[in-house]
């Protein structure tokens, strides 16, 4: 048994090392194409539809979906299918059709390499660049820590009894990422994204088909879910209908993961890399198909895990249930796939974390080097490129150390990073593309108010609030706990309590009201009419461009 375990460990590590070596080589090969700051940041704006689509998909769906998504699916049942669907509809289709072409046209027109640059040029105020980039720098670093930490669950399941697996994996990931980003930049990242996307697709589909076969097909799968509902005293059908066991949680999660994409700098900046407008349209077709298959199967897998272990291994079932479903998909993967496929998929998930991480680091590092350093000192592009590379190294080291130390505050903040970035970017970005009335003061004030509301909502009412209070040695007051539990809309299907409303929803609602209102109140700080006509002309032209 021990020999068998050791043999498996060797197999897993061999495949992981081969895969990571491939990433390093890809980075090295991309070096030839990476000469200027523009090459480094936006791949010289020369990416075609296939690579654009796949790169968008891989940046959107990483290990967080495969491992973390499985956890929600375990608890919420088949209603999670709707998360896959709406993510593709809102997070992919709508952003590609409505905002992608305009983003590319404006990015090119302003020659901007980062999202803060685009916003500051659109609203004609350099302060916006500093403000948004500081928020991005801070929260992207936190997000990077969460990506590294996502690996810890996966590795603890695949390497049981090896307490060093996580430390080794984070160290290897950090070293490869530093090497990779110092030589390859965006070019390297996009090429490995393409390979990554294929392995992820194959891996997730294989788990799905193997698991479905193991539970005896759809009929038997649904029958088992019915058994679980009866045995565990759940409402009949709650694992099989929408919103079912998930209640308002599913709806909140759908909104965060779909609309959230509109405010993520690493997603928006994918459009900067497109070679032509045509690349975006055909990229849409590719990413829609890829994303729907992968999201559908990834969510299904979590539910399949519940049925599989209920039928085949009740003690593991209770172990996973005790961990609130956290280990559902990694356990299912080991249970149903042959070892060599587990090894390949493990490497792919590890690399999925890396590829998402790379873009996050690029965005965070450029937030410092281009949006703050270059603006303040007027440094040349070459100097900014040099500083970007140093900043990426420093950030990876900080993130790796934080991921290894796992301080409670960072854990709590990880959940919050998306909402915080979207609070300052989403509304000014979308309004900036469709409405001439937005002003620079509205960007700053609505961003600040929205960010503040997200922070307050998070520390006052959300389930992670006690952790946040605990970090400062404070006890979460009972009065706040009572308010959080207050039910505001009791419907026959589910209840909405104050604490179940995600801070993303609150902060975006505030931003969507604050931005136009402040804009109307500060009409004087609007960019000139000529400038607005010019940029809206550029965007209109992009729409008709063949």
């Amino acid at each position: 048994m021990l020999n068998q375990l050791a043999g498996l460990e060797i197999l897993y590590w061999t495949v992981i090392v081969i895969y990571l070596a491939f990433l390093a080589i890809a980075g090295w090969l991309a070096k030839k194409k990476t000469k200027t700051l523009k090459d480094y940041m936006v791949a010289g704006r020369k990416i075609g539809p296939l690579l654009l689509g796949l790169s968008f998909g891989v940046t959107y769906f990483s290990a967080v979906l495969i491992v973390g998504g499985g956890q929600f699916a375990w608890n919420w049942g088949l209603s999670v299918i709707w998360i896959a669907t709406i993510d593709v509809l809102i997070g992919v289709f709508i952003i590609f059709v409505l905002f992608g072409p305009k983003t590319k046209a404006l990015g090119e027109h302003f020659d901007s390499l980062t999202v803060p640059q685009l916003l500051s040029k659109r609203y004609q105020d350099p302060k916006i660049q500093t403000f948004t980039s500081v928020v991005i720098l801070f929260f992207e670093t936190v997000y990077l820590v969460s990506i590294f930490m996502g690996l810890s669950i996966l590795l603890s399941v695949t390497f049981p009894g090896n307490p060093y697996a996580y430390i080794i994996a984070v160290t290897i990931c950090a070293v490869i990422t530093i090497f990779y980003l110092n030589v390859g930049g965006s070019h390297g990242a996009i090429w490995t994204d393409a390979v990554e996307s294929v392995i992820m697709l194959v891996g997730v589909s294989l788990i799905f088909f193997f698991a479905l076969y193991a539970v005896g097909g759809f009929d038997s799968f649904l029958g088992t879910l019915g058994d679980i509902e009866r045995s565990e005293g759940l409402k009949p059908g709650s694992l099989k209908v929408f919103p079912g066991a998930g209640g308002f949680g599913v709806i909140g999660y759908i909104l965060v993961t779909s609309f959230g994409v509109w405010g993520m700098p690493q997603m928006i900046s994918r459009f900067y890399t497109a070679e032509k407008q045509k690349s975006i349209r055909w990229g849409l077709v590719i990413v829609c198909i890829w994303a729907f298959i992968i999201a559908l199967f990834a969510w299904f897998n979590g539910v399949l895990a519940r049925a599989y272990f209920w039928e085949h291994d009740r003690s593991t079932y209770y172990d996973i249930a005790a961990a609130k479903g956290e280990t559902a998909v990694p356990m299912l993967m080991i249970a149903v796939l042959p070892p060599i496929l587990v090894a390949i998929f493990l490497a792919a998930v590890l690399a999925a974390s890396l590829t998402t991480g790379e873009k996050v680091i690029l965005v965070a590092a450029s937030g410092f080097s281009i949006d703050v350093y270059q603006v303040k000192t007027g440094a040349s592009d070459d100097k900014a490129l040099h500083i970007t590379k140093i900043a990426t190294t420093v950030l990876v080291v900080i993130a790796a150390i934080l991921a290894l130390l796992k301080p409670a505050m960072v854990l709590a903040l990880c959940m919050f990073a998306w909402s915080a970035m979207a609070a300052v970017i989403l509304i000014p970005y979308i309004f900036g593309l469709v409405w001439k009335g937005g002003t620079k003061k509205a960007v700053m004030w609505s961003g600040a108010v929205s960010l503040l509301s997200a922070i307050l909502w998070f520390i006052l009412f959300r389930p992670d609030a006690p952790t946040a209070w605990g970090v400062f040695g404070l006890t979460y007051p009972k009065a706040l706990r009572d308010i959080a539990a207050l039910r505001i809309i009791p419907t026959p299907w589910f209840v909405i309590s104050i604490g179940s409303i995600h801070e993303f929803i609150i902060s975006q609602l505030i931003a969507i009201i604050a931005f136009p209102v402040i804009s109307l109140l500060t009409r004087g700080s609007k960019p000139s009419k000529e400038f607005l006509n010019e940029i809206f002309g550029v965007m209109k032209k992009a729409k008709t461009e063949e």
Binding site: T85, L89, L222, V285
Partner: protein, 49 residues
């Protein structure tokens, strides 16, 4: 068929996703091959008409 197995709310979820993909394909094809499609559909006007 999947409809026989899953409750309507779940199968509807899958259908919305599939229709999104179909819409993406149709929109893109229409945008770039509009002329060709119209030429195929329309009969060419007779000479001298």
């Amino acid at each position: 068929m999947i409809n026989e197995y899953l409750h309507w709310s779940i199968s509807l979820g899958i259908w919305v996703g599939i229709l999104t993909i179909v819409a993406a394909v149709l929109l893109t094809v229409w945008k770039y091959y509009k002329k060709e499609i119209l030429n195929l559909v329309k009969k060419k006007p007779k000479e001298g008409a």
